[in-house]
Amino acid sequence: MPLGVEDPAPLAPTSPLANASPKQSDYIISANTVIDTNTRLEWQREIPTIQGSDTLTLEDAFFICRDLGNQWRLPSARELQSIVDYGKDTPAINEVAFPFTPSANFWTSSRQIDVAWELDFATGVLRPIEFSSAGLLKYVRCVKDHAS
């Protein structure tokens, strides 16, 4: 699989962390994407689907983001956690900025030798799962750096 071992996108130097409970004013919301003015990341507003299915294997998750072109990619664990709103749950995310977000597990690009990391948007739990589970189907939200 064309997956890097390193976290492909550590936050840039001097890039502030998102608040544990982001404010809606942190986001610039447009029809299809959301820009986080704190982290300067641009997010897909709604989750993508592949052949009618919303949940994907880890390998398909990498490809569906990369196939969007224009530097879209699967977010790292830290990046995906940046849009978690720990001030609410089911789903733990701002639902105006990110409508129809399922309270379920999402893939991240973060992988270690034996594990892949998933983020549960029911509450914001971030956990490693054994890499043998990479064929399981989970949700995806793609990200790219916001070119300011």
Binding site: P13, A18, G87, R111, D114, P128
Partner: protein, 154 residues
């Protein structure tokens, strides 16, 4: 065979360079670590004492370290920022910058859970793959009466 060995060492050098580039932690030599990526200053070593959530908050608030008294518990996103999500799970935190980080107890964050005020988020640097891939997560919820380690930030 020699070529294979040579290639292996080249790969080793390349990967070490990448690791060095992503290490944003500076040891200030006074018991604190500065992360230049987030501009947070961390307590280098915990005091090897487990406390409940309330006592952990009090510990940080009364801590005087490196001439500073404005220490506090890190929130859940701040604490996650020093988890290393690559390489071997046993190096899930930089254990040179943060020596003796517990792999068997979690650390408290300041973030109360949204669904129960009696629970808060904890961060767990488990080096045990089976434990950390169990039903709990590495960033998960726990009753505030639970005993965890403490690492303060400012």
């Amino acid at each position: 065979m020699k070529i294979v060995i040579l290639m292996f060492f080249c790969l080793l050098i390349v990967s070490n360079t990448v690791l060095a580039q992503t290490n944003t932690l500076l040891d200030n030599g006074d018991g604190t670590i500065t992360d230049v990526a987030t501009a947070l200053i961390w307590q280098k070593e915990d005091d090897n004492v487990v406390r409940d959530f309330s006592a952990s908050n009090q510990y940080c608030q009364s801590l005087i370290l490196a001439g500073n008294s404005n220490w506090r518990l890190p929130d859940v996103k701040e604490f996650t920022s020093i988890i290393r999500f690559s390489g071997n799970i046993q190096r899930n935190i930089n254990r040179i910058a943060f020596p003796a980080t517990s792999g068997s107890f979690a650390y408290w964050t300041s973030t109360t859970t949204s669904n129960s005020s009696s629970q808060a988020w904890e961060v767990y640097f488990s080096t045990d793959l089976v434990l950390s891939t169990g039903s709990i997560g590495n960033v998960d919820q726990r009753s505030k009466t639970g005993q965890n380690f403490v690492r303060c930030v400012r």
